[in-house]
Amino acid sequence: MTTASREERLEETVYRPLLHTSRAWYAWMAVLVVLMGVGFVAYYEQLQRGLAVTGMRDTVVWGLYISNFVFFSGVSMSGTFISAILRITGAEWRRPITRLAEITTVSALLMCGLMPIVDMGRPDRVANILLYGRLESPLLWDILAISTYLTASVIYLFLFIIPDSALLRDKFAGKVSGLRHRVYSLVSLGWQGLPEQHRHLERGAGIMMLIIIPIGVTVHSVVSWIFGMTYRAGWASTIFAPYFAVGALYSGTAMLITLMIIFRKVYHLEEYLTEKHFRYLSYLLVVFGIGYLYFTFAEYLTIGYKLASEDKLLLESLLLGKYSPLVWGGFFFGQILPIIWAAFRRTRTIPLMLIGSILVNIGMWIKRFIIVVPTLSLPLLPYDWGVYTPSWVEIAVTVASFGGFALTLTLFTKLFPIIPVWEMKEGWEQEKAKQSAPSAGLAAGPTTLTPQTGGARNG
């Protein structure tokens, strides 16, 4: 196959969803809009009648909303973080998946940020956080970390869209509505592909890649510290920050795999999202999954060995009592099974990976729930156990938040290509340059430190 045809085919495939809208797409949008509509109705009900319409009460003061908050913050880890690491290490195979990874982060963070506001008793006073914010509060750390991560992720996503947007601006002129064309010209910031512009872009991207990694770590650490900074059994743990960060990587990688499989099928990306991508991401999933198993083991072993009074109650309720189906179910189906599937070539098939990666995230959502709710149900003094059953309002808002996550992704992929066309082309050009002058490539090898040379041969 020639390079020209390869490039043409790429544009043909990747631009198709931007120009053609199928009936299925409208049906899907209708489903999402309905889901979100029900969520809005539920939230309106909550605004009218107060949080009394939820299942939360004075003992279990947090429920589904905070579980969703932690879950979405975990999912957001996947994208930008993994994309930044792959770019820095010069992993060539990253090229088709970075955009999807980055928009996953942004969509998840939007929902993550909404959840605490939905959970607030006085959303009308949200401005008080800015007016009277106290840096001693873990909640403020969260607000700062998440807004910083969101800002950085949007910038990071945006930087790599600039050249693609310029391509669309030139290519789609006259083919799309004037408004949309104007969006493309606006986003492309006058990009002409000049060497000067490339230099600036690389510089900005280089800085963003470096800072986004520690920012990603802070987000998951401070989310854990909302719990870790209290005196509660099951929460007052020193390993919570790294535990959450590893859990987030596990959850995020699984979400990336799920979305890759879905978009691959829907947008016919089989040529670009290949067996290799799924294999490499499976390796990552296995590593993060085992890391997460290790943390889970360390967590329960240390509290289970000592069996301090409240820890004993908590552990009994988790492992043997009321929550044991969730805990053991989540453990087996969310950790053991998907890790085994991802580890062996035989089971690393697309359908099993799809099921496995979805199971991982169901398991991780359950994990968030059993971090939040059982600890709060524990009697702190000779009280009764707290009981919590989510109300329809909470369930509707939760479903709507997943709808919102999907909606952001769906709309984004209607506006911008889900595979970064210019980055793919850049990769092919580098490959071609190397093939035509292998000696030059070798000579440059030892002296250059730019990431591009790193894994190029594998690409």
């Binding site: 009460r57 106290r134 509060s137 920012i215 509660r232 003094l381």
Partner: protein, 309 residues
């Protein structure tokens, strides 16, 4: 014995300041450069943990309030076949919203098998976990060592409820019923009426009454006189009839605090007992009756409620 009561108060301050500094430093480090210009103003706003140092204030002594609950006298009002009078006094004094008990009397069955009653107000901790975690400084500690809530600032995140190891806080999940005229009552954190939906509530040691030289409602209405209001500054406590030297009273009677091991340093002390002074036997397992609400007790808002402010 003396050191038991006065030392935690004195020595605690150095630790508190360094902890605040440390937390602030961690916060600043984590907040990234974006927030740097905001730091001074944010820190300036965080007047939450007011210094608990004993000292003079203009026009008199700066009190350091504490409660002593003598469990030898508390039998949960079961021998009188009545709901706990302290809880009901609290309900009528503050128009405590339905379903909440700011002062809750618990039935405790000890591991040794005996039964006793444990009234649980807010512990007014010297190292209050709730104050630390509040994102907006809506809950704060006064100079007199009482933790209050500014219901006009509270955003209803309930982080303080998750942080409180005593379960002393309640939330207004819906709009609580207020007494007639409450809309025009002068709201203050010391006397938080009218109650507001979506905000956190708790015992505030009747700050509006102590300012006026009165006992908290629970202490005043306790038929057994089991609740003492104490002042660490003058080392004195009273239940309205007896006056005792606080440090001696606590020491001689082996007073303890709930969950001392956590380091929250509560200002509520308990003298161990099981209501024996009112003839309650350890085998008497009668549970306390449900306290009646302020509506059932027919409480109305009047001048006396408005307190000293």
């Amino acid at each position: 014995m003396d050191s038991d009561t006065s030392d935690p108060n004195q020595s605690g301050e150095a630790g508190k300041i360094s902890r605040r500094r440390l937390l602030a430093l961690i916060g600043v480090a984590g907040a990234a450069a974006v927030a740097a210009p905001l730091v001074p103003s944010m820190m300036g706003k965080s007047t939450g943990t007011a210094s608990g140092e004993a000292g003079k204030k203009a026009g008199g002594v700066l009190r350091q309030w504490t409660l002593v609950i003598d469990l030898r006298k508390c039998e949960g009002c079961v021998t009188q076949d009545k709901p706990p009078a302290c809880t009901e006094a609290c309900n009528t004094e503050h128009f405590v919203p339905a379903g909440q008990q700011w002062l809750r009397v618990m039935n405790v069955k000890s591991e040794a098998g005996h039964t006793y009653y444990l009234p649980r107000p807010c512990m007014q901790c010297e190292n209050p976990p709730c104050v630390k975690v509040c994102p907006v400084g809506a809950t704060y500690r006064t100079e007199e060592g009482v933790t209050l809530i500014n219901h006009e600032r509270c955003i209803g995140c309930r982080m303080c409820m998750a942080a409180c190891p005593y379960g002393a806080r309640s939330f207004n999940w819906n709009q609580p019923q207020n007494p007639p005229g409450a809309t025009f009552a002068k709201y203050s954190p010391e006397f938080p009426v009218p109650h507001r939906q979506g905000t956190v509530e708790k015992c505030m040691l009747c700050a509006h009454r102590t300012a006026d030289g009165k006992l908290p409602a629970c202490a005043e209405k306790c038929p057994m006189k089991a609740i003492y209001l104490g002042d660490l500054t003058e080392d004195i406590a009273t239940n309205g009839t007896d006056i005792v030297k606080l440090s001696t009273f606590l020491g001689e009677n082996s007073a303890y605090r709930l969950k001392e091991e956590l380091g929250t340093r509560p200002r509520v002390w308990y003298i161990p007992g099981h209501g024996q002074e009112y003839g309650h036997h350890v085998g008497d397992e009668r549970a306390t009756q449900n306290p009646r609400s302020w509506q059932e007790l027919g409480a109305t808002l009047d001048k006396t409620h408005e307190g000293g402010k």
